[in-house]
């Protein structure tokens, strides 16, 4: 096997993994703080992808610019969703939470089907099919930009949690629910804020993802599962963990595809998930619960 092949594949795996990591970031934040299992995560990203398509079709808005309105929209939507619908479910048993979000996911997927039809949609920007060539190494432009955005978004989120007041408050709520309440933090409000942030994150991921993949209504569930695998492997509540998990999954799938058969590459992600759950359930960079 020629070495350039392996190198190219690994680099592609890293870049793609970073974008997956961005997608998982939102989930990590939500799950890490609010402890709600968002089984509609992939569907939310799908909606963000459609939003980007619509903006592109109507205003020729490049996805990187569309990030601003779409993320903003999702922030609001996420906050409202949490406050209105999900909040009462935090204390409910997991199967209820799960059912709630499955119902929401069903409504989202089929709502998209009703509105957009089953055809796959995409955006067509110039740099989408170009790549940089550095010797025998080929760097896909769209993937490169998207992964850069992923890193930037994670850094921004990290800074938010570390340095701003709201960020610290949210971390407090996550670490110690009772303590936070005792100190007088309006936990409900911060939960809503967190859900909003997580949703905004997923929106950014969607804007990036549409550059790599076409969107159709049925795209959601596979991504939800992927997001969960990454979050568990990388570690709950850890931003670096989400990115690391993404890269790990991206690279392992790429290598598995290369050396064994590509059709089985997802098996490795699940095997990895099982191993992590058993041996280190807090994930690679997560803190012990």
């Amino acid at each position: 096997m020629p070495i350039e092949l392996v190198v190219n594949v690994v680099i592609a795996g890293v870049l793609t993994g970073l974008v997956y990591g961005l997608m998982a970031l939102g989930l990590s934040v939500i799950f890490g703080v609010v402890r709600v299992v968002n089984f509609a995560h992939g569907e939310m990203m799908t909606i963000a992808m459609y939003a980007t398509v619509v903006l592109f079709a109507a205003l020729q808005l490049d996805p990187f610019l569309a990030v601003v309105p779409v993320a903003g929209l999702f922030f609001v939507f996420g906050t409202l969703l949490q406050a209105a619908v999900i909040n009462p479910f935090i204390t409910r048993p997991e199967h209820s939470q799960f059912m709630l979000l499955v119902a929401i996911a069903i409504i989202m997927v089929n709502g998209l089907l009703m509105v957009f039809g089953p055809d796959a949609r995409n955006v067509q920007v110039d740099y989408q099919l170009e790549s940089y060539a550095i010797g025998p190494i080929l760097l896909d432009k769209a993937r490169l930009y998207a992964s850069a955005a992923a890193v930037a978004a994670s850094a921004a989120l990290f800074a938010f949690f570390k340095f701003t007041r709201a960020g610290k408050a949210i971390r407090a709520c996550a670490d110690n629910y009772l303590g936070a309440k005792v100190v007088g933090l309006n936990v409900k409000r911060y939960y809503a804020l967190t859900f909003g942030l997580g949703s905004a994150c997923v929106a950014v991921a969607g804007c990036m993802m549409i550059l790599l993949v076409d969107v159709s209504p049925v795209l959601g569930p596979a991504y939800t599962l992927l997001a969960f695998v990454i979050v568990i492997v990388g570690g709950l509540g850890s931003m670096g963990g989400a990115l690391l998990g993404g890269v790990l999954i991206g690279v392992s799938e790429a290598l598995a595809g290369l050396f064994i058969t590509p059709s089985a590459k997802s098996m490795f992600s699940f095997a990895l998930l099982i191993l992590v759950l058993l041996l280190r359930p807090q994930g690679l960079l997560g803190r012990k619960p």
Binding site: F31, V85, R92, E94, V102, I106, L112, A271, L278
Partner: protein, 325 residues
């Protein structure tokens, strides 16, 4: 159970037994489907209600059992009554393995759910690569003409399948009812209410939880064998798919987790609901794809939000059947 409950139960049983005599094949096929989901929901309920573990990968057991029985029949001509033993054995081993891993490593709640999903997905992709069992092309069992009934090989008319499924469902119901009233039932209740207190009382919580896991997977295995011989073709993509796992838990969650009637009621309500929506939309002339599922999702959402314990507890109260679980 009180007198009223007993009478209603008897009426229901009579209705179910007499159904094939008056119902069309279409109604029968829907009824068989309802019973299938009632049964698997009940089996799942054992893991959830007795061991307190949320399994979102129950399609694993249905699939493994189905393939085991179908594989034996296809390659060696071994009928389902013999094949079922292998199917159950495999599922017991799987259930025990997952249970063991979960309890030994202290995995519960969402993490356990994800573990079960991972196992199911891993198996799904794995079976896609097993050519001996048909791979993604599917495993097709030879279908005999339905004129004659062959209970031994489970070949026959829809009526036969209906009664087999009815027997299974009734059996599961009876088994769970009996278990709940037995000593095991009290142990399970104790563990569910407060595991630490139960342990302090000397109950070997690990053993009882494992028992529930294994029982659940074994019961589900029977559904898998039925599935194989009812549908006569298996595709890994369909039978191990996460949507099947979700279908299995819809009944109990809507009907009422941990209750005896919950899964049956839930399965009935959901199937009839789905069908009614289709008919309603057809009558209104709305042919836009996706509308039906949106309706369905909205109803699901409403039930989950406003009837958190499922439909059965509320219904039981209304019918004056207090005292039933």
């Amino acid at each position: 159970m009180n007198r009223r409950g007993a009478v209603l139960l008897a009426m229901l049983a009579a209705a179910l037994i007499l159904l094939p005599a008056v119902a069309s094949n279409y109604v029968l096929s829907v009824a068989t489907l309802i019973l299938f989901f009632a049964y698997t929901g009940q089996a799942w309920n054992v893991m959830m209600g007795f061991a307190g573990q949320l399994s979102l990968g129950h399609s694993l057991y249905v699939g493994v059992a189905a393939y085991a029985a179908a594989g034996l029949f296809f390659h060696f001509g071994i009928g389902p009554w013999a094949g079922v033993w292998l199917a159950v054995l495999l599922c017991v081993v799987l259930g025990a393995a997952i249970g063991f891993l979960a309890f030994r490593f202290g995995i519960s709640g969402v993490y356990f759910a994800l573990l079960t999903i991972a196992f199911a997905e891993f198996t799904r992709i794995g079976f896609d690569h097993i050519d001996w069992l048909g791979g993604p092309g599917g495993l097709f069992i030879k279908v005999e003409q339905r004129e004659h009934m062959d209970l031994l090989d489970l070949r026959g008319a829809p009526q036969m399948f209906y009664y087999v499924m009815l027997a299974l469902t009734a059996g599961a119901f009876a088994l769970c009812a009996w278990l709940l009233r037995s000593r095991a039932g009290y142990y399970w209740q104790a563990i569910r209410e407060d595991e630490q207190a139960a342990q302090a009382l000397g109950i070997n919580t690990f053993r009882w939880k494992m028992l529930a896991m294994v029982l659940s997977s074994a019961l589900t295995a029977l559904a898998g064998v039925f599935f194989a011989f009812y549908y006569n073709n298996l595709f890994p993509e369909q039978i191990f798919h996460i949507s099947r796992s979700i279908e299995i838990i819809l009944g109990p969650v809507i009907g009422g987790v941990g209750t005896l009637f919950g899964p049956i009621l839930g399965a009935a309500v959901l199937t009839i609901l789905a069908d009614s929506i289709t008919e309603l939309l057809a009558a209104l002339g709305i042919e836009i794809p996706g509308v039906k599922q949106v309706f369905y999702g909205v109803v699901l959402l409403a039930v989950v939000m406003f009837l958190p314990h499922g439909i059965w507890p509320t219904l039981a109260r209304k019918l004056g059947l207090e005292g039933r679980r």
